[in-house]
């Protein structure tokens, strides 16, 4: 196997690895063992305890340090004479432009989010450098090869959409625990501890005009001298009691549904909690300490234990009290973070109380944390296997062995006896707006949508552009950059607040916009179609973009970049795609050497898989 030709291809190669996490650690090790001598690695993350079960280059003493740097040092210990360069940085930083990418022979991705994957895909296309892409979830994984003009690009196929739930399911008619989690996290937590100016659908939908919205708003305001526990009970009674009661008044809603039960704190909790356990006052933790925990002050130890309504209610009040007592400064600008213990406790408690009210089974904090944080299931073995497959493809790319490129799926259950299933890659999709520059169509109300809406919801959120520039004909409507003068910036800012039809060069039905990202070297055309009406539930953004792959929603380890204000987003960790059912093959001919072998063996053994049964890989998201 290790032929002379192969060894020299490996030795002379300069490779870029993006990501030094689960796949990255395994990949860097396997590259070094395989004889690669010039490896560059980018990762913006630092090491956490929950990485140590699989990112074997890291130790407990490394927690908090740069993944890229520690991984480099660890691999140099067993291969001291190779060159590894580490970058503790975001791959989306402007210094990593197409010129930077051009110095490499192949780029290998071990990323955990769609947003960065798309960005790297575009830079590889711009620099014309082959990309080997990968992803794992639990026991499932896949490796794909993307070579400009030869195989499809990463964005040629629609990626599984992040799961969104209709607003009314979340606000009024939850049927699953995840609905309660979304409610607790995106609505209640955001309302109490997040930005007060954000729109929030927390209250029962305005079917009942009985109480004015102003009155309700006031419930969430805490008066300066208001006792924290009293305040907590007031919130509790409002969201779990009177809000449910108000919703029940709308008989239409409950005709075919199970009626929820209003829950009031006085029926669950004793008169006063402070006397009973006196926790908050005695707590010795300092203000702003992120280790503040309601669980520990209540003496709850096992996060995998299922707590009842009473314990969840105690946890709710306690967590809320601790936020006001110990982390007051952060209130008003908190967003939910799965690594924030107190936030997880609060969201777990709130979701469970709501679940109880709606007759939905309760969940442990461990389970709730996984759902709320979109935590990716991960084991070392799958990452090791996938890393091995990446190196095999990378070597083929270096040898320019295009007929042998494969995309490979790692399965949990065998399919046609196979646990590792190679498939011939697809050709580029001629309708892809990224690699084939096919125009997109945008339906939008040009009289009611501002340029800002277009920039935020389409250009950034959906097209995944970092530093966009928007042109209408010869007229520049908007751009971002360091080299702009004040007049231009003022000009663009003014444009942002204008309706599309009122821009200096009016954008109306039939207008064609050119949208570019200079860093990604991506340019695409958008045909604008004016439309008056949009479905509030199905098209909450009031814009419909067609011919585009799903929005960049991140999972687990990275900060969310979704700026979806109206629809409620829950991202499933969708790094593993479906096995495609189409047969858009790269080539129809058999590679020469396969031919020979087949003749000799008179075998019906097919070297290439043709997928007969569409196998959906998305079973992956088992709830524990």
């Amino acid at each position: 196997m290790a032929t002379q030709e192969q060894q020299s291809a490996i030795k002379g190669a300069k490779v870029l690895m993006v990501g030094a996490g689960g796949i990255g650690c395994e990949l860097l090790k396997t590259l070094a063992l395989s004889g690669f001598e010039d490896i560059h690695i980018i990762d913006m993350d630092t090491i956490e305890v929950s990485n140590l079960n699989r990112q074997f280059l890291f130790r407990r003493s490394h927690v908090g340090q740069s993944k890229a740097k520690v991984a480099r040092d660890a691999v140099l210990r067993f291969r001291p004479h190779i060159n590894i360069s580490s970058y503790h940085a975001n791959v989306k930083n402007p210094e990593f432009d197409a010129d930077f990418f051009k110095q490499f022979d192949v780029v290998l991705n071990g990323l955990d989010n769609l947003d960065a994957r798309r960005h790297v895909n575009r830079l590889c296309l711009a620099a014309d450098i082959p990309l080997v892409e990968s992803g794992t979830t639990g026991f499932l994984g896949q490796v794909t090869v993307h070579v400009k003009g030869k195989t499809e690009c990463y964005e040629c196929q629609t990626k599984p959409a992040p799961k969104t739930y209709p607003v009314c399911t979340i606000t009024s008619t939850p049927t699953k625990f995840v609905h309660c989690i979304v409610w607790a996290k995106e609505l209640l937590f955001a309302k109490l501890f997040g930005d007060k100016n954000q729109d929030n659908d927390l209250n029962v939908r305005p079917n009942n005009a009985a109480s004015s919205s102003k009155e309700r708003e006031d419930v969430f305001e805490r008066a300066e001298d208001e006792d924290i526990e009293q305040y907590g009970r007031k919130i509790y009674d409002h969201v779990f009691g009177s809000n449910i009661e108000a919703a029940l008044a709308n008989e239409e809603t409950w005709k075919n549904r199970r009626r929820p039960r209003p829950i009031y704190s006085k029926d669950i909790l004793p008169e006063s909690l402070t006397q009973q356990n006196g926790i908050t006052q005695n707590c010795s933790v300092t203000d702003g300490d992120s280790m503040v925990s309601a669980m520990s002050s209540l003496g709850l130890k096992n996060p995998q234990e299922l707590w009842g309504l009473t314990q969840n209610s105690l946890l709710f009040i306690e967590a809320l009290k601790l936020f006001f007592a110990k982390r007051k400064k952060e209130i008003g600008h908190l967003t939910f973070d799965k690594d924030d213990q107190l936030a997880v406790e609060f969201v777990t408690a709130a979701a469970n109380i709501r679940a109880e009210s709606f007759g939905i089974p309760l969940h442990s904090l461990f389970e709730a944390k996984g759902i709320a944080g979109n935590i990716v299931h991960a084991v070392a073995t799958t990452n090791a296997i996938i890393a091995g497959l990446i190196v095999i493809e990378a070597i083929k790319v270096l040898k320019k062995d295009a007929n042998k490129y494969r995309m490979t799926y790692c399965l949990e259950h065998p399919s046609r006896k196979m646990l590792l299933m190679p498939v011939e890659p697809f050709e580029p999709n001629p309708a892809c707006y990224v690699c084939s520059k096919t125009p997109l169509v945008l339906e939008i109300n040009t009289q009611k949508s501002k340029l800002r809406d277009l920039v935020d919801r389409i250009v950034k959120a959906k097209l995944g552009m970092n530093l966009p520039l928007i042109m209408h004909g010869a007229s520049l409507l908007y751009e971002v950059g360091d080299d702009l003068d004040d007049i231009m910036v003022a000009n663009y800012n003014a444009n942002l607040e204008k309706y599309l039809s009122e821009l200096p060069s009016p954008v109306v039905n039939g207008s064609i916009l050119t949208v570019e990202d200079l860093q990604q070297e991506l340019s695409c055309k958008i045909n604008v179609k004016h439309r008056e009406e949009f479905d509030e539930e199905k098209e909450p953004e009031e814009m419909v973009l067609s011919g585009w792959t799903q929005s960049p929603a991140t999972n687990g380890d990275n900060a969310s970049t979704s700026n979806n204000e109206n629809a409620i987003d829950v991202t499933e960790s969708s790094s593993v795609a479906e096995i495609p059912t189409k047969k858009r093959r790269l080539s129809e001919f058999q590679p020469e050497n396969h031919k020979k072998e087949i003749e000799k063996v008179e075998s019906e053994d097919d070297d290439l898989m043709e997928i007969e049964n569409p196998m959906v890989m998305s079973k992956k998201k088992k709830r524990v």
């Binding site: 290790a2 395994e26 079960n53 130890k301 990716v376 084991v379 296997i385 091995g388 497959l389 590792l420």
Partner: protein
């Protein structure tokens, strides 16, 4: 379930994998004892995987002295002559593995697989034999089978870009999810001896060629009195002749095993690290499955060939 809870430290460290296999499986893992011998590339990968997963203990058996050749695909050996001089492969690998997970007890046993009696194997729940002769595999498998408790038995070999895993779980019960229901299943495995002496004629033609090719090489090495992996391209004519004889003996055409495949296997005395990572990964997964009793284990051979990229399960047993 098992009465004991995971500690807060375990829950934090194993968070991501508990979400895959559950706390019960994690507890069973932490109480299991694994014996590993023949620590070359694939086995080094395997050891890393089960130490990270958090088994109770790993016992290493490999008395070879560390030489430059041993680093080839083994990242557990640091190329520092001062550190490894005079030490065995097991000793050096033990030091590296301990660092990966302080909660796992990693230790070294001296001696050779064949010198250890039945009682030695009683201490383990899992025995993994890397790169051993046909005779040793057979002997150890028999010893494991004589014990009253079930010891899960595995062999693993990697030659060049190809690899083989053999599994013997004797009689094995496991649960699997079927349409949201948990079903009890039972599997009966043949011994190593039985599995490698199945007549070739009735074996389906689509079966991985590697099964046959590996048997030929094994028998060649046995006949020549060599250690596992001790062959080279110059042996090809002899290997090819033996193949012909074996094929005739089994009444199958000698085209059953392509010479090109045999050529790759005899030439593959240095391991291909990506294949080691893949085979060591599959083996790790299988051992974790067997210990935790969760998920369908493979029965009874697994093959990977980097040339076509397929990872295939073959069930080769004398069906009644």
């Amino acid at each position: 379930m098992d009465g004991e809870e995971l500690t807060a430290q375990e829950t934090a460290l194993y968070d991501r994998q508990i979400r895959v296999w559950g706390a019960g499986a994690q507890r069973r893992l932490s109480k299991s004892h694994v014996l590993v011998s023949g620590i070359k590339g694939t086995v080094a990968e395997f050891c890393k995987n089960i130490v990270l997963a958090g088994v109770g203990s790993v016992t290493l058996l490999d008395d070879r002295l560390v030489t430059a050749e041993a680093f080839n695909a083994n990242f557990l050996i640091l190329p520092d002559e001062n550190a490894y001089l005079g030490k065995t492969v097991a000793e050096i690998c033990c030091d590296s593995l301990k660092e990966f997970n302080p909660m796992v007890h990693v230790s070294v046993e001296k001696g050779d697989l064949s010198t250890h009696g039945i009682d030695f194997f009683k201490k383990f729940d899992v025995v993994v034999i890397g790169y051993s002769s046909r005779a040793t595999k057979k002997a150890v498998n028999e010893k494991c089978r004589k014990l009253t408790k079930r010891v899960a038995f595995y062999t693993v070999d990697c030659r060049g870009s190809c690899g083989e895993i053999f599994v013997d779980l004797q009689n094995y019960n496991y649960t699997k999810k079927k349409l949201d229901e948990t079903v009890e299943c039972e599997l009966t495995y043949p011994s190593f001896e039985e599995a490698v002496s199945v007549p070739w004629k009735p074996i389906p033609r689509r079966t991985a060629k590697l099964y046959f090719a590996m048997r030929v090489i094994e028998l060649f090495e046995e006949a020549e009195g060599r250690k596992a992996g001790e062959c080279s391209l110059s042996d090809l004519p002899k290997v090819s002749k033996l193949k012909k004889e074996i094929c005739e003996g089994n009444s199958v055409s000698e085209n059953h095993i392509p010479d090109s495949l045999l050529e790759r296997l005899v030439a593959g005395n240095s391991e291909f690290p990506p294949a080691c990572a893949i085979i060591g990964g599959i083996l790790g997964q299988e051992v974790i499955k067997a210990i935790s009793g969760k998920g369908e284990p493979l029965k009874n051979f697994f093959y990977f060939d980097a040339e076509d990229g397929k990872g295939v399960i073959e069930d080769i047993s004398n069906k009644p």
